[in-house]
């Protein structure tokens, strides 16, 4: 295969290796044999609540990365000049935009809450079945409460 790179490769190949994470491609022993069906329908598999929150963490994370350039753009514009500041204020004042802002803030907060949960799990806190289910629910409750508080602040 094109991308299998051995250990004594040169710097360019090493860079590729880092970039693609292909350094540990296992031998084909573990490739699925024959053509067989695989059952993997995510709508039929019942994910535990922790699994759901974990997916949510991932989705919110990707959304936040996509929102990053927008945030930097607004920051730059607003700091540039009085006209820029006024322009950003005008952009952000209609209520549909405020709703979007609220959703963005909630995206950040959900990622933050589930992130704190993951950090605690990494510190071996709450790593058992019932605590982890409870903490997963707790992140959703916290986001819902934040929605109420922030909605009042941002939309009012």
């Amino acid at each position: 295969m094109l991308f299998i790179i051995n250990d004594n490769a040169g710097p360019i190949k090493k860079a590729f290796k880092y970039w693609l994470c292909v350094d540990i491609l296992p031998p084909p022993m573990n490739a699925a044999p024959q053509k067989r069906p695989v059952y993997l329908n995510l709508f039929q598999i019942r994910l535990p609540i922790g699994g759901m929150v974990s997916i949510l963490h991932r989705v919110t994370g990707v959304l936040l990365v996509l929102a990053l350039p927008l945030a930097v753009f607004l920051l730059q514009r607003s700091l540039e000049s009085a006209a820029g500041f006024a322009q950003v204020s005008a952009w952000l004042s209609p209520w549909p935009v405020r709703v979007l802002l609220l959703l963005l803030a909630l995206t950040f907060l959900q990622h933050l809450y589930s992130g704190i949960r993951h950090l605690l799990l990494d510190l071996d806190i709450g790593v058992d079945r019932s605590s982890s289910r409870n903490s997963a629910w707790l992140t959703l409750v916290a986001t819902a409460l934040s929605a109420v508080a922030l909605g009042w602040l941002i939309l009012a």
Binding site: L2, F3, D7, K14, K17, Y18, W19, L20, C21, V22, D23, I24, L25, P26, R58, G61, V62, L64, V65, L68, P69, V72, L75, Q76, S78, L79, E80, S81, A82, F85, A105, F108, L109, L112, G115, I116, L119, D122, L150, L153, I154
Partner: protein
């Protein structure tokens, strides 16, 4: 007798990335939360106070740290997503490169913003 790991490649990478992801998370979370709450409680009303707050010495440093942490966190996180879902190496190459370039542009942009606007 020493056991030879079969495909050791450039190991020692998993742990470093895992740890960096957590440290950057703490930095980004602390500042992000502070910034969000401050903005909500006291939205800036005019350019002067806004500039004074955001570009004040301590705040400028904090923003710099925040963006550094966020960009590292975003890079590791996005790569983790690609590693999980993108199987064809060509697709992974294109998407990884695009993400890397995108984040690098944001890094330069933020650096210019924080260092240039004296």
């Amino acid at each position: 007798m020493k056991i030879q790991p079969q495909y050791i490649g450039s190991t020692r990478r998993g742990l470093g990335e895992w740890f960096a992801q957590r440290v950057s998370a703490v930095v980004a979370a602390a500042f992000g939360l502070y910034f969000l709450v401050a903005l909500c409680l006291a939205p800036p009303t005019d350019l002067e106070t806004w500039r004074a707050w955001v570009l004040g010495g301590g705040m400028r440093l904090a923003l710099g740290l925040f963006f550094a942490a966020t960009l590292i966190h975003a890079w590791i996180g996005m790569r983790s997503v690609f590693l999980d879902y993108l199987k064809p190496m060509s697709l992974r190459l294109v998407v990884s490169t695009a993400t890397g370039l995108g984040l690098a542009v944001i890094a330069l942009w933020v650096a210019a913003l924080l260092l240039g606007a004296v």
